[in-house]
C-alpha cells in the first residue's frame, strides 16, 4: 500500500544527490510544513481566496514532486489549476482526498527513513 505513494526512483535520486542525512531533515521539514499548507487551503477556501488557494496547492504540489509523491502531486496540481476557490461538495471531496493521500505519503516517507 505504502509502496506506490512514493516513486522510489525519484526518492532514491534525491537521496543520491543531496545525501541520506539531509533527506531525513528535508522530510522532517515537509511533515512539519504540510499541515500549514492544508490550513491555508481550507482558509482560502472558506474566504473564496482563489490566489491563496492556488498558492497553497502549488506549494504542496511542488514539495510532493521533490519526494516523488506522484499521486499527491497530481491531486494538488488539480486543485492548483482550478482557478476558483469555491466550497462546492466536489472541491471539498478533492481536498479530503488530498488529505488522505498526504497521510499515506507521510507514512510512506516515515517508513522509507526507518527502513
Amino acid at each position: 500500500m505504502t509502496d506506490n505513494a512514493i516513486n522510489k526512483a525519484v526518492y532514491d535520486e534525491l537521496k543520491e544527490a543531496a545525501g541520506a542525512e539531509f533527506v531525513v531533515e528535508l522530510v522532517t521539514a515537509f511533515l512539519e510544513e504540510a499541515p500549514g499548507m492544508f490550513e491555508e487551503i481550507n482558509t482560502a477556501l472558506a474566504a473564496a481566496d482563489a490566489d491563496g488557494f492556488r498558492r497553497a496547492a502549488h506549494s504542496l504540489k511542488s514539495n510532493a514532486q521533490v519526494f516523488g509523491a506522484d499521486a499527491l502531486a497530481t491531486q494538488a496540481r488539480a486543485l492548483e489549476l482550478m482557478e476558483t476557490a469555491q466550497t462546492t461538495p466536489e472541491v471539498q471531496g478533492l481536498v479530503a482526498q488530498l488529505e488522505a493521500e498526504f497521510k499515506r505519503t507521510a507514512d510512506a516517507l516515515k517508513g522509507l527513513q526507518n527502513g
Partner: protein, 344 residues
C-alpha cells in the same frame, strides 16, 4: 589561490524548497543566502551584493514577477543574473519571466545536473560582463559607462549645453628632454591622477588625452546644474593642486609643472563617434575649438586660466575675472572676448 565562492540568493516561500536549493548550491561549492519572499529578497539586495539569484514565482507578499520588475528598475542590480526556479503552470508564465529579464528558467524540482550547468554558465557570463565593465571603466568614465548601460551603445550625438575645458602642461617638451622617459611617464601618471581627481570631483569627464593634454567635458552625458561653474571650479582646483605638487617637486629638485587651461561654454554635440568596433565618447562644436584656442592663448597672455564670455556670464559675479579684451583666433570668425580667471 581559490577564487572566492559565488554568493547566491535563494528566494522561495516554501521551507522544503529553500532547504533543498541551499543544499544543492552548497554541494556545488557556492554560498547560499535565503529569503522567504520577494520583499525580504529586495531588502537583502539593498544591503548586500549577490552574484546570482534563484527566484521562485508563486510567493505571498511579493511574487517572482514583481521581483523581476523591481530588479529591472534598479540600475545597480542589472548585472545580477536571475534564474527562475518554479513549478508554475503554463508556458505563458515562463515566457513572462524571460520577458521580464530572467536569464533562465529551471522547472522544479530542480535537476541537480541541470542546475550545475545553468549556474556555471550564468556565473561565467556574469564574470565576463564584470570584467568587460572593469575594462570599460579603465578607458571611459563611470558616467559614460552608465550612459551606455542606460541607453545602449549608439553612434551619434545629441545637442547639449556644456562647457569644454582644455588643459596642457606648459613647456612639457623641455621637461621631457631634461629627464629620462621613465621619469617622464611617472610624472605624467602623477599629473593625470591629480587632474582626474579634480575633474571627477566637479562632474567632468575626460574625453581626450593626448600626451600631456586633456580635453574635459562638463554637462554630458550627465547634465550638470551649471557646467561653466563646475568647469571653472575644476580649473581652479587643478591649478591649486599643481601649485601644491610643485612645492614637492622643488624639494626634490625636480621640474615644476605649469598648466594652461582654456574653457568655453555653449551648445555642443556630444555622443559616441567612431565605428561599431571602436568608438569614443566625445563632443564637437565651435566651443571645442574655442576652448582649445583659449588654452593655447594662456601662454601669450601669461594667465593660467582663460575663459570665454559665455563661461564668464554663467559663473556670475562671484568669479573674479580680468577682461583681456577681444582676441582674434585662427579658425574662429570674429574677435572673441577673453577673460582671465584670477586665482583666489
Amino acid at each position: 589561490m581559490a577564487e572566492p565562492k559565488a554568493r547566491l540568493l535563494i528566494v522561495d516561500d516554501n521551507r522544503v524548497n529553500r532547504l533543498l536549493l541551499s543544499r544543492s548550491v552548497e554541494l556545488l561549492g557556492y554560498e547560499a543566502a535565503v529569503a522567504e519572499n520577494g520583499r525580504a529578497a529586495m531588502e537583502m539586495l539593498g544591503k548586500g551584493s549577490y552574484d546570482l539569484m534563484l527566484l521562485d514565482i508563486e510567493m505571498p507578499v511579493m511574487d517572482g514577477f514583481e521581483v523581476l520588475e523591481a530588479i529591472s528598475r534598479a540600475p545597480s542590480l542589472q548585472d545580477m543574473p536571475v534564474i527562475v526556479t518554479s513549478s508554475v503552470e503554463g508556458v505563458e508564465n515562463v515566457v513572462r519571466c524571460i520577458d521580464l529579464g530572467a536569464e533562465d528558467y529551471l522547472p522544479k524540482p530542480v535537476n541537480p545536473v541541470l542546475l550545475r550547468a545553468r549556474l556555471n554558465s550564468s556565473l561565467e557570463k556574469k564574470r565576463l560582463r564584470d570584467e568587460q565593465k572593469t575594462m570599460l571603466r579603465r578607458f571611459a568614465t563611470s558616467e559614460v559607462v552608465q550612459d551606455m548601460q542606460e541607453s545602449g551603445f549608439k553612434l551619434g550625438g545629441r545637442r547639449v549645453h556644456a562647457s569644454i575645458l582644455f588643459c596642457d602642461i606648459r613647456g612639457f617638451t623641455t621637461i621631457s628632454e631634461q629627464q629620462s622617459p621613465e621619469d617622464t611617464i611617472e610624472l605624467l601618471n602623477i599629473y593625470y591622477t591629480l587632474m582626474f581627481e579634480a575633474i571627477d570631483q566637479h562632474g567632468g569627464i575626460v574625453t581626450l588625452m593626448i600626451g600631456d593634454g586633456l580635453m574635459v567635458l562638463f554637462g554630458a552625458p550627465q547634465p550638470l546644474d551649471n557646467p561653466a561653474a563646475s568647469a571653472v571650479a575644476a580649473a581652479q582646483d587643478m591649478q591649486a593642486i599643481i601649485t601644491q605638487f610643485n612645492l614637492e617637486q622643488n624639494a626634490f629638485q625636480k621640474p615644476e609643472l605649469r598648466l594652461g587651461i582654456g574653457i568655453a561654454t555653449g551648445e555642443v554635440v556630444a555622443g559616441f563617434a567612431g565605428t561599431q568596433q571602436r568608438a569614443t565618447y566625445t563632443c564637437i562644436g565651435d566651443k571645442v575649438n574655442l576652448a582649445s584656442r583659449l588654452e593655447g592663448h594662456t601662454k601669450k597672455a601669461s594667465q593660467p586660466i582663460l575663459v570665454d564670455a559665455a563661461t564668464r556670464a554663467a559663473v556670475g559675479d562671484n568669479l573674479s575675472c580680468k577682461p583681456l579684451g577681444d582676441v582674434k583666433f585662427d579658425g574662429i570668425s570674429g574677435p572673441v572676448a577673453v577673460f582671465a580667471v584670477m586665482q583666489e
